[in-house]
Symmetry: C2
Subunit: 201 residues, 2 copies
DNA sequence: TAAAAAAGATGACAAATGTCATGTCTTTTA
DNA sequence: TAAAAGACATGACATTTGTCATCTTTTTTA
């Protein structure tokens, strides 16, 4: 019997998955949460064979939970289940040596299948995810530029950005100018739209 | 036996819900789609007793499908199932006289329960939804202001906005000034952030 | 129907934004 | 180690943005 814990903040999906997996006669759902913090605590005490983690959850993301579990040397197989094919997410997941990374854009059969495979020692990365990461327009912004973009995404003006990143406001404007040129745009809003579309932000 | 059609673009939830509802011995899932257009066509031919519609789907939204079904006088009970507690969505759903409006933030039990109740003739609006709409910060922007905000959300500059809304650029700037004052902000990006946070946009 | 409100426009101004050329220090790299 | 590349800064400039007072023309409303 394989014990499974589900952390997913969307109730409907959480309860639906719990019900379905529980139907399989070799699986047993031993707990579930809609909150990362709660999930981490329960997983460390319940020690399920498998933890299915959504990424975007309140308090602690699924990726943070995965990382903590690995730091604590918990011998638990982890499946990351998410909507987002973000490169950053994927890299973080790989760094935490998760056993599978699936998109919610695949049917439940695939989830069941994946559980069986990782119990077998396989590592499963969703093919769509991998291809979408390979085909993704790669982010041309430097770390500093990205940082500055994140600041003006919050609505800060040049001066406020300069204060938080400890640069002169002239330099900040230079960086923004560079951001606009790299994104082929002429305003902060346009640049933000491009960045969001390509998941750079 | 009650026949049910499910339109939901997230495969995982779609297949999970199908499986669960199909387990109930008085329900039968007679079809499902991950695309609004396809859903509309199949629903008109299959004529299920109940259609469960997600809102944000490719090609045709669940709200559009609902509206079309009502225009075609299809005697089908409709459940809108969505993540978003947007007032606009809700109003459109009410206008199309849907039989229920549920949030994905409720468990599957509630969905099953709701199906039984609407078969009984009841109209079900998710309590969380209703309360979040009542407590929502109401949008202080006029229709024109909102229109202009939607334009600059796309990254258009004053001149481009003026051309699309057929106003002088000076007037556009006046409207934007009014938007900023109503939102208590000093830049377009800040105003956009406020609008998004409150679901005005 | 007279008064009030709404919708749109103009002009003037200050502030913010975007662009460029240029300069100074570090770090890298060949 | 000399040359190149990076990171940060400055100043100057044109443009865009945001603010305001004022004006005209429609539409509403009392």
């Amino acid at each position: 019997m394989t014990t499974i814990y589900i952390a997913e903040d969307q109730e409907m999906l959480n309860s639906a998955l719990s019900a379905i997996l529980d139907l399989e006669d070799d699986f047993e759902i031993i707990g579930n949460a809609t909150d990362g913090q709660m999930a981490f605590q329960e997983i460390t005490t319940l020690k399920p064979d498998i933890a299915i983690l959504d990424i975007e959850m309140p308090n602690l993301t699924g990726l943070e939970v995965a990382q903590e579990l690995r730091l604590n040397h918990q011998n638990i197989k982890i499946i990351i289940l998410t909507t987002f094919a973000r490169k950053k997410y994927f890299e973080s997941a790989v760094a935490s040596e998760v056993n599978a990374y699936l998109l919610k854009d695949s049917p439940t059969d695939k989830l069941v299948d994946t559980i069986h495979k990782i119990l077998d020692g396989q590592i499963i990365y969703d093919a769509n995810l991998v291809s979408s990461i390979l085909t993704a327009v790669k982010n041309p912004l430097t770390a500093q530029e990205l940082k500055i973009m994140q600041e003006f995404a919050l609505g800060k003006n040049t001066q406020e950005i300069a204060e938080t990143v400890f640069l002169s406001s002239g330099t900040v404007r230079n960086y923004i100018s560079s951001i606009l040129s790299k994104t082929g745009t002429h305003s902060r809003i346009e640049a933000l739209n491009i960045a969001k579309k390509n998941n750079w932000i």
